[in-house]
Symmetry: D2
Subunit: 231 residues, 4 copies
């Protein structure tokens, strides 16, 4: 681990608390399984260590918690995770947009409609993760994955936008990267919800997120492979 004065890179991985009447959230179940994980980055590239933090599923409060975790850890990489119930793959998000539009209430009972995440900020920010390389590495490991072109308009997008806005407007570690990855339901959730929803096992999620962390720390220039959508 990080021989010869190679610094150990710090990685912040966040997951959300449960919401919408469920009692678990796979984004946090996966994040906490990564807590303390030492990631060997390969020959001469040193190592990284993951710190997991649980975020409230509350507009505003989620950003406050994220800010505090970044201030505390001064991470080189921030990977925020959230649940996308109904998706069948691990989906790195391409873009965060500056709008809160709640289809349901958050955990504090708030349901903002068409409010900016940050008033006066740009309409959008692109992820600074190598999202194509992450998808490629996941698929190569036999884990279903694709790029997503919308993170929605709920607390997930809110946190993602807040992260990218902070990185654009406040000093951070040189080369710091950040982004958001949505994960599917766990099988045990799909088993009790109506509608024959897809799921991925927790072990698959955890392995997929390890690959995502390692890829995000080691691939400088993203792949030129399409991750586009016709609409």
């Amino acid at each position: 681990m990080a021989p010869n004065s190679q610094p150990v890179l710090q990685v912040l991985v966040t997951g959300f608390e449960p919401f919408d009447a469920d009692r678990i959230n796979p984004s946090w179940e996966a994040a906490r399984r990564l807590d303390g994980w030492q990631c060997d980055l390969g020959e001469g590239k040193g190592a990284a260590v993951v710190h997991a933090r649980r975020m409230p599923c509350v507009f505003g409060a989620a950003l406050t918690a994220l800010d505090a975790a970044i201030d505390e850890l001064q991470p080189d990489l921030v990977l925020c995770l959230g649940l996308a119930g109904g998706r069948s793959e691990i989906t790195p998000e391409r873009v965060a947009i500056n709008v809160d539009d709640g289809r349901i209430c958050d955990n504090a009972g708030c349901q903002p409609i068409d409010q900016p995440v940050v008033p006066g900020a740009p309409a959008g920010y692109f992820s600074s993760l190598p999202i194509k390389a992450v998808v490629n590495a996941l698929r190569a490991a036999g884990i279903p994955a694709s790029v997503s072109n919308s993170a929605g308009t709920f607390v997930c997008n809110h946190l993602f936008f807040g992260l990218m806005h902070r990185m654009a407007t406040r000093p951070s570690r040189p080369g710091m990267r950040g982004g958001f990855i949505h994960v599917p339901l766990l099988p045990e959730q799909a088993a009790r919800l109506p509608g024959a929803l897809p799921s991925l096992a927790l072990d698959t999620l955890v392995e997929g997120l390890r690959i995502s962390v390692r890829t995000s720390l080691t691939v400088q220039t993203d792949l030129r492979e399409t991750g586009g959508a016709l609409h």
Copy 2:
């Protein structure tokens, strides 16, 4: 029609030529059915007239054609239409993003990957149409509709982004509005494609677009109804 010196508002509606080996494109079939339509805006509000223009399904050339049409018509409202094969509803788009990422080639054989639509421009622009009011008016008329939070990364998003960037950076008619609406396949297309794809009849599309034009010209402040997505 526009009594008492009330000016007739000019509306540009664009549709795309066919692409991806198909021989028709419902966005253009609907747009040309609207060409020349005189829209009565209600008591004392005057009238509007629609001008339809067909856009090439080609990165770059589509923007050139749009620019020329706007220069020529100096419209008060620009409604760009495109096909979203697989969607079942008329879907006003919320946001355009500054990326071209072709899952397939355009009609000129080009397939840009992760290129900006406009280098140096912002990551995104929001539609200036009252998209919630449009959806509400469509549903009230019995036409399936919802807000979409991603216009994809192909020529549709490209044109939408180019439109919004022009409106943000060049002088235009005071109060000019612009945006993008995706439409489903026609039944005759769904009948020959595999996969049990949804469709809407051309008459339904045309009626829906008339409602969209009228609503976009008469509703100043958008409704506060959720059109959000959890992811």
Copy 3:
């Protein structure tokens, strides 16, 4: 119409009353639009006339109503229609199965679970409509269609099974044919239901059912085209 002593064929088309808290049912809206329609069967083949009857969405009572209509009309063709909310195509059903298993209650508040439609009857009956030819003719007319391999286990399948059991066990007109076709939601229903459901316009349904009637009366040997499903 049926010159030279060619008899006029009698066609019974049934649709269901609304159910599951909705106020219309497209199967009946389409059926009643066909009532009284004179179908010219082509050179020397005479003609047919359609009689529409509305069926209660009630286990048992639906079969009683169907029996009465068949006794009254002595039809050459019976086409029963039902709503398949969520499907995007007109779908002739291949097979009826001898089970009632209600996911919801019928209009009389009953929810049988795993009861036979007709105790002691076979497990299934195949449609005697030329379902492949019907699908082929619909697609050729630009109307989305495909064969369905399951009519479910609610009142639609119940009526379909009852029809085929009667035809198998009681004397009827020589050459009599019968079967079931599911139809999608109407756009006005999809516009008020959640979930971006597909729909077909009533005019498209009516045209599609005319084609289905004519094809069922004129094609003796069904096409050998696959309508199969892998699962």
Copy 4:
């Protein structure tokens, strides 16, 4: 294991060889993981042992192979497994129908269209597994499951029909039960196929099939819970 002269029950579990250009088939991967498994049936109920056999994905030859395996093993329970690519759950099938209608060719290059599996046999047979109890037990264990009302018209349904026809027409072990269960893709398959298909991990499949075997051997009277479909 089966103390005091309690006989050990024999269980035949079949899976299919790969088809449609894929190189693995999760139905066989799961079946062979069960081979030799000793299933303790609980206090005083003795035990069972599983024998896995691989079936060719070929019309006709599959039935020959199944017959040979049944003749050899004289099983108390036959559980045939097949792949349902695109489904997200483990789905016990309710009914087999007497038709072969290949959407693609089988592994011998044959594509029968609308041929009976067994000429002169009934149109359908119901599974004799307690399918509702199996679904209930799977969900209780956190494994997504539901009843399916159609096994399709390819080699899966063909094998299922052949099994049930043999059980209906030839002597077998008293109380012998048989049926078919479809399983989803594995994650590694979904990772290389287009279309964001759902999957279940092999460990989840194997655990689910163990539960299915035990439930099928111990539950005599099926649960009265709905597994119905509206269409």
